[in-house]
Amino acid sequence: MTDHIVSSYDVELDTLRSKIAEMGGIAEKMLGDATMALVRRDAALAQAVIAVDERLDALQHDVEERAVLTIAKRQPMAVDLREIVSAIRVAGDIERVGDLAKNTAKRVVAISNEMQPQKIVGGVQHMSDLVQAQLKDVLDAYAQKDTARALDVWQRDDRIDALYTSIFRELLTYMMEDPRNISFCTHLLFLAKNIERIGDHTTNVAETIHYLVTGKPLAAERPKSDESSFTTVPVAGQQ
């Protein structure tokens, strides 16, 4: 893309991009650290994740203010308008990713002293690895305006949904086996749900990238495999 006649306009757009890149880096690290804190039962690391969320919130406000000011000053058109609208949207999604990572970290703190079956923690860790890969890919796709890569992330999310459904079922089984597992499993269930929702935000970003590059919304229905909403526990004596 050629430069604007007014060079300060390019500087404003570049600043927006770099702020979003910084936000993305923080959010990725928050999710990675929250997961590591879960696996290692590291409450201190979880606390650090909680603390860093403030920085992400401040950056989101900064992006929004800059975007609004650029709209007021430049009255952007076409690809510039899409770029600024996309920056506002993506900043919102990344901020939510940060909130969900923070919430995950809070639950890690809550369950850090409880007995944890490693097998089930391993399932959540695996799901988090997939979500972290999604997050990285979609942020790279955003930086490079790569619709093909964004579309790949968008289509891949159903694997995370499917994994979440299996974790949900597994946790139900643990809880049914021994009521002493309920507290831990409930926290882990919410924790897994937080991570699954981060995956949903990566698909939002993917949709935004498609709009940014093509000017059109992603029309098709995204494949979904989260069946936990329909999963129930069979009551004893009933089929």
Binding site: M1, T2, D3, H4, I5, P76, M77, A78, K216
Partner: protein, 272 residues
């Protein structure tokens, strides 16, 4: 019953609206030469009835030249030669049997700089209907003047001083007087060549509001250097560059997702 997703419904409605639009002005392969200079190259466009079409493009791109072809204003320039075909309601406006004066009554024009006659407000508006013999009595003429001033959104501001000179009005009022003068002869098409470029933002807003009201009854073509104005007032936008019509489409599409790189570069301020 199956429900159609909203986006599909919106598309279908837009498509229906496009089908219903009646073409008022058709231009095919229009070329304009000023002496040896080839100013406009093979311009073909359909201009819909009762809608606002905006022409945008850098200075010297040919948009005003093309606008002036639609009411044969270029006839007044001796070295100017126009080829190709322009039809209004299916009739060739360059037909030798056609009187350009009658054409210009049908196709009114509003210029960049307000240019009221050095006459009273009343006479400015009454002049056209009088020379075209559109009214049969003083009462008729009074009514045409009042209606035209009302339609131009000026009547309330000038009703007590119709005999005052038109040149004594503010810039924005003068421009609305020129619009009243243009619509007094009952035109079907109104051409506007940068009608707000000499006006302050409030007078500009009033003219834009007026354009929005006028499109219910008239086909409007506006040349503007303000992209925001084109985006606000028009339904169709055409981008001209170096004497060529580069891209034409719905205003929404041109300003959010233009197809041609030159259009994109121009509207986003990237032209070197």
């Amino acid at each position: 019953m199956t429900t159609m997703p909203n986006i599909e419904l919106a598309k279908a409605t837009a498509a229906e609206a496009a089908d219903e639009a009646v073409t008022k002005v058709v231009a095919r392969d229009v070329n304009v030469y000023y002496g040896d200079k080839h100013a406009l190259h093979d311009v073909s466009i359909d201009i819909p009835e009762k809608a606002v079409t905006a022409f945008i493009g850098p200075s010297g791109c040919g948009k005003s030249t093309f606008l002036r072809c639609i009411n044969r204003m270029n006839d007044t320039i001796p070295i100017c030669r126009v080829s190709g075909r322009i039809e209004i309601d299916g009739s060739d406006i360059y037909d030798r049997g056609l009187d350009p004066v009658q054409l210009r009554a049908k196709v009114g024009m509003v210029f960049q700089k307000p240019n009221p006659f050095p006459k009273s407000i009343y006479e400015n508006v009454a002049y056209g209907p009088r020379i075209h013999g559109l009214t049969s009595s003083k009462a008729d003429l009074d009514e045409v003047v009042t209606m035209s001033l009302k339609r131009a959104g000026l009547y309330e501001e000038v009703k007590d001083r119709l005999t005052s000179p038109g040149t004594g009005l503010s810039g924005g009022q003068q421009q609305r007087l020129c619009i009243a003068r243009a619509i007094a002869v009952n035109p079907e098409v109104i051409l506007m060549d940068e009608p707000c470029s000499a006006l302050d933002p409030i007078a500009t807003a009033k003219i834009e509001e007026l354009i929005d009201e006028l499109r219910e009854n008239y086909t409007i073509v506006i040349v503007t250097h303000s992209m925001q104005q084109a985006a606000r007032v028009s339904q169709r936008t055409a981008f001209f560059h170096l004497g060529k019509l580069v891209e034409e489409g719905s205003t929404e599409q041109i300003f959010t997702a233009p197809q041609d790189k030159r259009t994109q570069d121009y509207i986003t301020g990237r032209f070197g």
